[in-house]
């Protein structure tokens, strides 16, 4: 065991233990660490937004380089604060309308390409998919899965006849998907615990390398 004399590692380790203490029950040490984290995060975000965003993208071009065009985004941004003055509160709609219009135009075509066209193509049978028996089998399973899940979410017709078993098959595919997601979630949370234990046993206590 080779405990570090580094005060920053000590601080980090003690804050980690303070957060872990919540697993026993809520307590003042946990609350202190939680509030410290929220405060430090907010302060960091404000500082980095100011230095990385506001200064180089607005104040420098407008006030130092004298580029008058930048007054337009400044006014648009200030319109957000109009909400605090009831008489001119309607001005907030201007930047929101601009962002919605621009955002929709930029995102919708790309979203259609990413999630509809390419994903639909992925379910189609191709010669390459059947080049090997296993890839062919997976292609068939994928198509059956997509169709059965889509039928499960088709609510315009009563589930009778062929619709019922196909929708039930869709439930099985959905459950498999949820199971995979849950398994990965457990894996992720365990990974976070491993990371902290590696830190406590390594840099802090010096038990492991």
């Amino acid at each position: 065991m080779n405990i570090t004399p580094d005060p920053w590692i000590w601080l980090s380790a003690l804050l980690t233990l303070a957060i872990f203490s919540f697993l026993f029950r809520d307590n003042i040490l946990y609350q202190f660490a939680e509030h410290l984290f929220v405060g430090a995060s907010a302060g960091y975000l404000i500082a980095i937004t100011w230095h990385n965003q506001m200064v180089p993208n607005l104040f420098e071009p407008l006030f130092i380089q004298g580029n008058i065009v930048y007054i337009i985004p400044l006014l648009f941004g200030l319109c957000y604060f109009a909400r605090f003055i009831p008489k001119i509160g309607y001005l907030v709609r201007l930047p929101i309308a601009f962002l919605l219009g621009w955002g929709s135009g930029a995102i919708i075509p790309a979203l259609f390409q990413r999630d509809i066209l390419k994903q639909t193509q992925g379910t189609l049978f191709t010669i390459e998919a059947f080049a090997k028996w296993d890839t062919g089998l997976w292609a068939v399973i994928m198509l059956v899965g997509v169709i059965s899940v889509l039928i499960y979410f088709f609510f315009s017709q009563e589930r009778k006849g062929i619709m019922k078993p196909v929708a039930n098959l869709g439930i099985i595919f959905l459950m498999l998907g949820f199971g995979a997601s849950f398994g990965y979630t457990v894996m992720s949370r365990i990974s976070l615990l491993i990371g902290r234990l590696q830190f406590l046993l390594g840099p802090w206590l010096g038990i492991i390398e």
Partner: protein, 280 residues
């Protein structure tokens, strides 16, 4: 209270302690359980391995914060080692405000292992706010979005970036992503809109969401959580690219044992539940 009822009422503190012990034991005394390389990780490795000194640079986006370090930071280290060992030039950026701190740690350590020089072999662009404008802008002109690097040096005067215009001049984009903004935005704008080659490393929570995009070929390769990071570390090690520390691989014994304990608790809880329900 009979034993089956007791099984459904195990205090959570007991469960936490058992899991913590189960994870700590293999960290203190590694078991050496085998790690199988998944095809999705192999594909990302192969994509980078096919590049060399003459290839266009790779762009790595650090889209995570310190909370996700156990899963994503080992990926960053392993990918950087792979790139530098193959003399591939690397451009690093971040869509998360906490990214620059993590990039500074990695870029202070890994390039030294391979005697790589800032500006000639790698460059760090820093963090920018506004994901849509950033990624769409980079598809048109990277220098309009990042006129200067993290240290304020104009990109035109840096060797790697002097001749780079947009995504077409990059071999591959890799996002190490813990949420939004991250892999979804890179796929949406860089891949779907500009047809760029995108590789993804995600926390295990997001892995199942990325699978459909890997199957359709929209994603070059995928590293999923600590497991994906450990696979990449092993690939880099087995190919003789680096003898550096493999943090994720060290944690995989603990990961497996932790899963085993959770499975045992799930089975115990279910047995207790079904037996007590039948008695009622």
């Amino acid at each position: 209270m009979n034993i089956f009822k007791a099984l459904t009422k195990i205090p959570r503190q007991v469960i936490y302690v058992v899991i913590a012990i189960a994870i700590m034991i293999p960290l203190l005394k590694p078991i050496g359980l085998p790690i199988r390389i998944m095809p999705k990780s192999q594909r990302l490795f192969a994509a980078i391995d096919s590049l060399g000194p003459q290839s266009n640079p790779i762009l790595i986006s650090i889209d995570f914060d310190p909370q996700s370090m156990p899963e994503l930071y080992p990926m960053l280290v392993a990918v950087l080692r792979h790139c530098f060992a193959r003399d591939i030039k690397v451009i690093v950026m971040s869509l998360w405000p906490q990214g620059p701190g993590l990039a500074e740690i990695a870029l202070a350590q890994i390039p030294k292992e391979f005697n790589k020089e800032y500006g000639k072999d790698f460059v760090f662009l820093g963090y920018k706010f506004g994901v849509t404008a950033i990624l769409l802008g980079m598809g048109d002109n990277i220098k309009s979005v990042f006129p200067v690097d993290y240290h304020g040096t104009p990109l035109d005067s840096i060797e790697i970036t002097a001749h780079i215009q947009n995504y077409d001049d990059l071999s591959l984009m890799i996002t190490l992503s813990a949420g939004d903004p991250g892999w979804r935005a890179w796929l949406l704008f860089a891949q779907a809109r500009y047809n760029a080659r995108v590789g993804i490393g995600v926390t295990a929570v997001s892995a199942a969401d990325v699978y459909p995009y890997v199957e359709t070929g929209q994603v070059v390769g995928l590293l999923a959580g600590m497991k994906g990071a450990s696979e990449y570390e092993i690939l880099v090690h087995e190919h003789g690219y680096s003898e550096g520390k493999r943090t994720a691989a060290q944690g995989m014994d603990a990961q497996s044992l932790g899963h085993l304990v959770i499975m045992v608790f799930i089975i115990i809880g279910n047995i207790g539940y079904f037996v007590t329900r039948r008695k009622k």
